[in-house]
């Protein structure tokens, strides 16, 4: 395992960021509350009308998504900032490693944390649902997969903002972009009906750039509505492109920044 990460400085930075996050008390507490919420969904399911297992899955996926968004923004805005604030970056930057490699390594580290958190919480959700049904519901897999892709976009957005602004502003902007992205469909509908050309342009542009609604397959997965290959792969390709663009812009800011 260690030898694998020794193969490239980017992997070493990623592994180090992952280990750093693993020691974060804030993330442990957030994970604990998400686990509690999933457990609590069992009781919510009991009071629903023949929808027990659907309520547990729906609430469970929502809890995982909430936890993931929190982790993505928290780590995205803090990971670089804390290294600058604590000046741990000084000894790292003196090594034969470029700033872009540090940035990319940090992003990879956050990806590792997000993937681990979502996988662990999903396993936990399956364990909880096993109290209700004695089978693994594979229909949730695409929803979980796209959830991870969406979280990676949010992490890239947070990294982008943190490459030039403070953690507070970065978190504020990242959360704002996430919310707008999640309601981008409704926003576009409003824009279509609006007579204000500026708002119409803004609303439709937002939907084209930050369309996070297409990553939400939760309801379709829970209610067994068919999910086609393009429903999964198109958003994955879109996520890859958007993350690449965000990282390139982050690099442009980060590479000329003075670390005071």
């Amino acid at each position: 395992m260690k030898r694998f990460f020794f193969k490239h400085p980017v992997l070493m930075i990623a592994f180090n960021s992952y280990m750093d996050a693993r020691h974060s008390k804030v993330l442990h507490i957030a994970g604990f509350f998400a686990a509690l919420l999933i457990l609590f969904s069992l009781f919510m399911g009991e009071v629903s009308l023949y929808q027990n297992e659907k309520v547990v899955k729906d609430v469970g996926l929502a809890a995982i998504s909430m936890l993931g968004v929190f982790i993505a923004i928290y780590l995205g805005v803090n990971s670089l900032y804390r290294d600058l604030e604590r000046r741990t970056i000084y000894s790292i930057i003196s090594k034969p490693i470029g700033r872009s490699e540090i940035l990319f390594g940090k992003f990879l580290g956050i990806c590792l944390v997000l993937i681990s958190a979502v996988v662990m919480m999903s396993v936990y959700l399956y364990l909880v649902t096993s109290f209700i049904e004695a089978k693994i519901d594979f229909a949730l897999f695409p929803a979980i997969g796209l959830m991870i892709a969406e979280l990676l976009i949010i992490a890239a957005i947070a990294i982008f903002f943190s490459s030039f602004s403070s953690p507070f502003l970065s978190a504020f902007f990242s959360a704002g972009v996430f919310v707008i992205g999640r309601v981008s469909g409704d926003l576009a509908d409003f824009g279509e009906r609006s007579k204000n050309e500026v708002f119409k342009f803004f609303a439709t542009s937002v939907q084209k750039i930050f369309d996070l609604e297409s990553f939400d397959l939760r309801a379709r997965a829970v209610h067994k509505i068919p999910i086609y290959a393009q429903d999964f792969w198109y958003p994955v390709m879109y996520a890859s492109a958007l993350i690449a663009i965000l990282l390139v812009f982050s690099h442009l800011f980060f590479v000329r920044r003075d670390f005071k």
């Binding site: 030898r3 400085p9 070493m12 750093d20 000084y90 000894s91 003196s94 090594k95």
Partner: protein
Amino acid sequence: MEVIEVHGLTKDYRQHFWSPLRRVLDNASFSVNSGEIFGFLGPNGAGKSTTIKILFEIIFPSSGTAKIFGKPVGDKSVKSRVGFLPENPYFYDYLTTTQFLEFHGGLSGMSPDALKRRIPEVLELVGMRGTKDMSLRSFSKGMLQRVGLAQAIIHNPDLVILDEPMTGLDPLGRREVRDLMLHLKSQKKTIFFSTHILSDVESICNRVAIMNRGKLLSCGSLDELISVEVQSVDMVWHKPSDALKSYLSSLGLLASATSSSIFSRLSRQPAESTPEFESRIQSVVQKGIGLGGELHSLSPKKESLEDVFVRQVGNLESRV
């Protein structure tokens, strides 16, 4: 051969985007030769750390150039030959000493096998043997400083740059760091370090640079900076007579007096030549003996680095 070359380095900072530019480094130029220990002196805010940060591209200069081993400072081939200890270092405290050194050694391009051999060696060098499995969280400031030194030399660099390496160390720790620098020098390494502690510089440095308020005041070997000529003489008189006391007092030489002895200091005048000063000493001594004084001791004092530093940097007002 010049290992570090700095030409006209200038750095202007803006606290906020609306605040005016402030010059923290002003046209600094100096060079560091291969195999020497170079001391970088100056009070707080002199621009020492700013210069060092530019050498690692932690910040970028507003103008001027800096080269290490004849190449631009950001070059990866340069960085792999340089070790760095930042001022007041803070490291990932959940790591053990071994994990920490593996991380930094790995970033420097060392293989896991090479690190396995090298880690016990550097821990021995920095006096941290027996701490390889201890968490950095449990370390004192001095221990963190030493482990920071270990990461700076883990990859056996040709140039070691240390920003205030004595900070947080007790006298024994300081002695060990001094010994480590001398050890590195004996291995033909070049050491560039910033400090406030003049005695350390005086005892181990080949050359020094003195900075204040962003400007380089002087740069050269200790012999070049410190005058070799006697600057004052301290005289101790036994069984002093009242006449001797009055005489020394009238010349302004009486530093302190008890019933059994007198301590007096005769300082050289600014434009006074050595023969003139020697003649003045002789005259005071003869007159003192003539007045019934018993000269117990006469000690010539040369200029120290501290005198040079104080003379160049000046009083507190000039530094604020």
